[in-house]
Structure formats: C-alpha cells, structure tokens
Symmetry: C2
Subunit: 143 residues, 2 copies
DNA sequence: TTTGAAGATGATAATGGTTCTCATTTGCAA
DNA sequence: TTGCAAATGAGAACCATTATCATCTTCAAA
C-alpha cells in the first residue's frame, strides 16, 4: 500500500476528495519527505493540480490530527510535515542546504523519559532538533 | 553583578541606551526567566518605561547576537528569550500551564554529538523540548 | 441514477508575530 | 557644547497561517 487509498482517508474519518488524495499521494510518492505547506502547494500546482493554498493548510492540519502526518516546528518560522511512519525519530537539519536527516537513539529517548518523570511531568511528546552543517564537500545533500 | 551594568552592553559592542538598559534589567531581575517580545514589551510598559515594540524586537535580536540572551523556538509560534547563563540546558514545557523547566543531561548531550558527527554533520546548536503535563495536583506551577 | 444536504473547496480578508521604513531623538567622542 | 552616527518609535509592510463565505463535491438514500 504505497499508492494513496481512499481508505486511508476513510479510516481517518475524512471524505475522500481530490485535494486530499493529491496531497496524500504527494507525501507517499516519497520524493520529498519533509515539506512545508508552501512546498506542498507549489508541488501540486507543478503537477497540474488546481488547488487553493487555504485547502493545503486545512488538509495538512487534518492529516496531522488524523495521525497521517507529523508536524515539525523547525527554526525558521514555517512548520514542516512528513508522513507518519509510526516510528518516532528526531532530526538533524543542515543550516546550509536545509537537508533534513532522521535519526533515532534509544539512549537519548530513555534519558528524556527519565528526566521528565523525575520532575513530575507526564511526557506528551518532544522534539529534538540538531542544527548543523554538512561537513564534507559542498553539502552532499540536495539543493 | 546582578544589576545591569552599562559594561554589559559596551562589552557586547552596543551603545548604552535607555531601552537596552531597561530590557537587560528586566531579564536580570529574574522575575520571569523566559519571555517573548510581547512579554517584555508589556512588562516594560507596566514598569512605566515608554518603549516601542519595534525597539523591543530589535534589542532582543541584538542581545541574542551579542550572546546576552538565548532564543528558543517553542511550539506556539512566538520565540522566547532567556538570559544566557553560559551553561547550556534543555527545556520541559508544560502544555497545561506553560511553565518552563530547565534540565541538563550529559548523556543526552554526548549522544547527540555522537549521532551528528557519525553522519558527517558539524553541530551548530540544538534544541530539545519535552512537551508534557505537570502530573501532580492542579499544576504546581504558576498561571 | 438522481438528488439533496452536509461537508469541502478556494478566493480573499483577517490575524498574529515579526521586520522594515523613515523622520526624529539620543549617546558620546571630540 | 557640538555634530553626527547610531538608536528609537510609530506605523506600514511582511509572511505564515487561519477565518470567512459563497460555491461546488461527495456520497448516502431514494
């Protein structure tokens, strides 16, 4: 199941509409894992899909609430979305080319939980963003 | 040296002006460690200082660049500043009352560095935000 | 398959945080 | 005290995002 199924939407309690199918398809295409609303909007237009920016924002938010997408608040103001693959991970963001790399470190995860509970907090979620520079050659990553 | 010294500004290469002194004094007063531009603006007005919002934003940014303040991008859109005390730390933010608690965990820090360098990144900085609920009684924290 | 109403869309206005503009004021070295 | 570069403040401008609302779709029921 890589191609968008109307069921993905149905299961999320959302009507299966053209904009929603297109947006889900875009994320599932995997070309770009992390996209802002603007990115999605432009990509859809480039694909010839006629969609409104307001709809993109709405759908992105709905998908987030439905658990289809995960939203990230990176530095820079605009939030970025990625397909929810179930498995949590954190991010390294290249300050030069904007490339986002994902990682998961069990030790970090467990220490976080420990720190929070020790202080009487019930963890909801967390975000760990490492801002760095791609070190080798001229940014091995895209753009 | 807890009261604002003109030298703090001089050392940062900034002219010693009334708004800058007031803003620095506010942070050094320690009443509120984490404040948004709006928070600072309102507090200054409440103190009887006549300042413009634009100036607050400008000064906050200058202080950040000068290393006097540290800026945080918590969820919620607006950035928050705190006095730079030299020692890095991360944050737990209560989703109910907005209370911010600081912590430092050496294990987490070193694992982060490891993860990043392993992937060919030169770490610039990072942000680790744990979003949680104060677990005991009705939010032991303020507001 | 047609139909109708709830729900979705999209153009645009509105919002909220932040930055820019520019005329006026201030800090400070000479 | 003076002169000017730097700083300030009021308001316009900006940008990402959300709200409004008239029109258009989806989909279940007939």
């Amino acid at each position: 199941m890589d191609k968008p199924q109307p069921d993905d939407l149905k299961d999320a309690g959302l009507k299966s509409t053209v904009p929603r199918l297109n947006i889900l398809a875009l994320f599932k295409s995997g070309q770009e894992r992390h996209m802002s609303a603007e990115d999605v909007y432009k990509q859809l237009l480039a694909n010839g899909d006629d969609v409104g920016l307001a709809t993109v924002y709405r759908v992105l938010t709905q998908f987030e609430q439905a658990g289809l997408l995960v939203r990230h608040y990176f530095e820079g103001g605009k939030s970025v979305f990625e397909l929810n693959q179930g498995k949590h991970h954190d991010h390294i963001v290249c300050l030069q080319c904007g490339h986002v790399e994902e990682f998961y470190d069990a030790a970090i995860e467990s220490r976080q939980e420990k720190v929070a509970t020790e202080r009487g907090f019930a963890v909801h979620n967390h975000s760990l963003h490492i801002y760095a520079d791609c070190v080798n050659k001229a940014c091995p990553h895209k753009h």
